[in-house]
């Protein structure tokens, strides 16, 4: 099923499900995100943990093999930068798209920042870091 057509259909179904679910859970709402991060409301933490649990079971049933996933030097500093940006802007990479779709037009600025950040890191990695690729790199 790993043909171009299959991938296209899978991406459309996954994208629709992701956008719809993320918006309804509240991940696109800055107030909800801040309440999660400050432990005022654990609902979204539990939703995230529940999603991971479901994926663990599905991957186990489908016997999806684990990839190497080496812990390289960029993982921790990258995660620190990502967590900081997420808490400030309320957007992890896909969320600002849902925010714009919900009517929050300033999230377009977040999207522009993300594109700049990705290109900046690609340039810095090529020039200085020389790190290997990870799950979102491919």
């Amino acid at each position: 099923m790993r043909t171009r057509g299959g991938i296209l259909v899978a991406n459309i179904i996954a994208g629709l499900a992701l956008g719809y679910t993320v918006a309804n859970i509240g991940f696109a709402d800055y107030a909800e995100l801040n309440r999660m991060f400050t432990f005022q409301d654990l609902r979204m933490f539990l939703a995230f943990a529940g999603a991971v649990a479901i994926i663990v079971v599905v991957f186990a049933v489908l016997r999806v093999r684990r990839t190497a996933g080496r812990i390289h030097a960029g993982v921790i500093p990258g995660a620190v930068l990502f967590g900081t940006g997420w808490a400030i802007s309320g957007g992890c990479p896909a969320i600002p798209i849902v925010q714009v779709a919900s009517g929050y037009l300033p999230a377009l600025v977040t999207i522009a920042g993300i594109v700049v950040g990705i290109r900046l890191c690609r340039w810095a990695n090529t020039r200085y870091f020389h790190l290997d690729s990870g799950s979102c790199e491919r």
Binding site: G69, A79, F82, G113
Partner: protein, 113 residues
């Protein structure tokens, strides 16, 4: 000739557009859709209520998200859902660090700044 290539550009664009459509359908059907030029009351109270500062905060936050995602090799979906779902140590470490940092920065924004 059926190819076994990685997702081409059209599939990636389709994914992003589908995320948009899915979010829009959810917002409209829930009665939450409203075009606005701010990020909501919480952002105004916790981060800033000045439009120029809001644009700056969103842009800087976005750059950090993009740079960090690329540097860590994953995001809340790539590491948090997919990687943790496969019980990959690198993803568990990354997810713990970015959630921990999110908690720390949010408390700083909420209580200090």
């Amino acid at each position: 000739m059926a190819s076994l290539l990685p997702a081409p550009l059209v599939s990636q664009v389709a994914l992003l557009l589908s995320v948009f459509v899915g979010g829009w359908v959810a917002a409209v059907t829930a009665g939450r859709f409203q075009l606005r030029l701010d990020m909501g009351d919480a952002f105004r109270q916790i981060v800033t209520d000045k439009p120029i500062e809001m644009v700056g905060a969103l842009f800087v936050g976005g750059v950090l998200v993009g740079f960090g995602t690329r540097l860590a090799g994953g995001c809340s979906s790539g590491h948090g859902l997919n990687g943790c779902g496969r019980l990959q140590p690198v993803s568990i470490v990354a997810t713990a660090v970015f959630f921990g940092t999110g908690v720390l920065v949010s408390f700083l924004l909420w209580k200090v700044i």
